[in-house]
Symmetry: C2
Subunit: 202 residues, 2 copies
Amino acid sequence: MSATALRNPDLTRQRILDVAFEEILLKGYQGLRVDQVLKMTALTKGAFYHHFSSKQALGHAVIDEVLKPWILDKWVEPLKQFNDPVKDLIEMLTVAREEINMTELHTGCPLNNLTQEMSPLDESFRVRITAIWQLWHDALTAAFERGQANGLIRQDVNPNNVARFLIAAMEGIIGQCKCYMNDTAFDEAGACLKDYIESLSA
Amino acid sequence: MSATALRNPDLTRQRILDVAFEEILLKGYQGLRVDQVLKMTALTKGAFYHHFSSKQALGHAVIDEVLKPWILDKWVEPLKQFNDPVKDLIEMLTVAREEINMTELHTGCPLNNLTQEMSPLDESFRVRITAIWQLWHDALTAAFERGQANGLIRQDVNPNNVARFLIAAMEGIIGQCKCYMNDTAFDEAGACLKDYIESLSA
DNA sequence: TAAATAACAAACTAGTTGGTCTGTCAAACC
DNA sequence: GGTTTGACAGACCAACTAGTTTGTTATTTA
C-alpha cells in the first residue's frame, strides 16, 4: 500500500483530524462545521461518516489524537528533563516566545480554548481535557520537587501550588493577547512572570 | 406607566438582555439561540426583533449594557478607592473568593469567556471587549502608581506590567477552574498569587 | 376621542446542519 | 480470477435557526 494509492484510509482520517483541529482552533467546537471540513479536505459525507460516527466522535478524536500529543510533546515531555526549573523554564518560555507569531497569538492556546468553551457544556469533553491539564501539572510539580531536592528551589515554596499558578498565569497571558492584537501585552505580563519564576530560586 | 403595565418595553428589553447574558455565559455567543431566549422570556419573534435588529445587535447590547457595567461596578470602580494596593487587592480577592460559589467557578468569567470565543471571529465584538479590559487595566495601573507615590509599593516595579500580569493571572486561575470541578485549584494557585502581590510591597 | 404609533403575537421562509442511505469502485483475500 | 469487504461518492432528509411579514392590541398624542 503506497502513500499515493487512490485510497489511503489512514491518511484520509488524519487529514480530517488535522483540518478539524485547525477549524476548532479558530472557531471553536460549536463553530466547527462538518461540511466545512469536507470542503477543505475535498471529501464527502460518505467518507466522513465512514471514519467518524458523529461530530462529537470527531471532537473526541481531535482531543485524543491531535491536541493531547501536541501538548505533551511541546509542553509536558520537556519538563521531565528539567533539573534547574528556574533556568530551564525561562529558557523554555523564551524559545516559545521567539517561535510564536501574530497568528498564533490571535488564536490562543488550543487546549485552553477548548477548556473554556466545552467544559461546562459536555462532560465527555471535560474529562478528556482535564486529564491533559493534570499531566501537565504533574510534570511541572515534579520538576519543582527535583529542584528542591537538588537545592536550586527554595524549600518554602509549594511545588503543587506553584505549578497550578504558573500554568494558570501562562494561559491567562496568552488569553489576554487574543483581544489585544499586538504582542506588547504578552511581553509586559511576561516580564512579571519571569520575575516571579526567578523569585523561586533558593 | 406602572411597572405592572401590560406593556413595559424597557423591562421587556432588559429581560431579554438578562436572559441572553446568562445564556452566553453558559453556552457562549455561538451557542446562544434566539428561540431559547424567547422561550425563557415567554416572548415571541415579534417582540425580539422589535427591540433588536439581529442576534449580533443583541450580542453588542449585552456587552455594552450588561457585561460592561457589571465588570466596571464589581472590578474596576473599587480600584479607584485603593490607597494601599497590596492590602486592598488581597482584601478584594478574599471577598470575591468568599462570594464565589461552585456554579460561578464552573461558568467562569463572562468577560474572559467572550474574549476567548469571539475575539478571533468578530471584530465588532473584539473592539468592545478590548475597551473593557483596557479600562480595568488602566484603573489597576493607576492604583499601583498611587501606591508608589505614597511609598507603599516598591519603586522598581512597573505598574503597567504588573497590572497586565495580575489581570492575566486572575483570569487564568478562574479559567483553570472551569474544568477542574472543585475549588482546590483556585485556592492552590490563589496562594501563590497572594505571595506575588505581597512581594510588591515596599 | 380619534388617529397615529409603539409593542408586541405568531405563522412563515430560506438557508443551514448533522446525519442517513444507497450505490460504486478499488483493494485485499482465497 | 472471482468474491468479499473496506473506502469512499453523493443524493437525500428532518430538524433547526435567524430573520421576515402580516396582523393585532395597548398606549400615547393631537
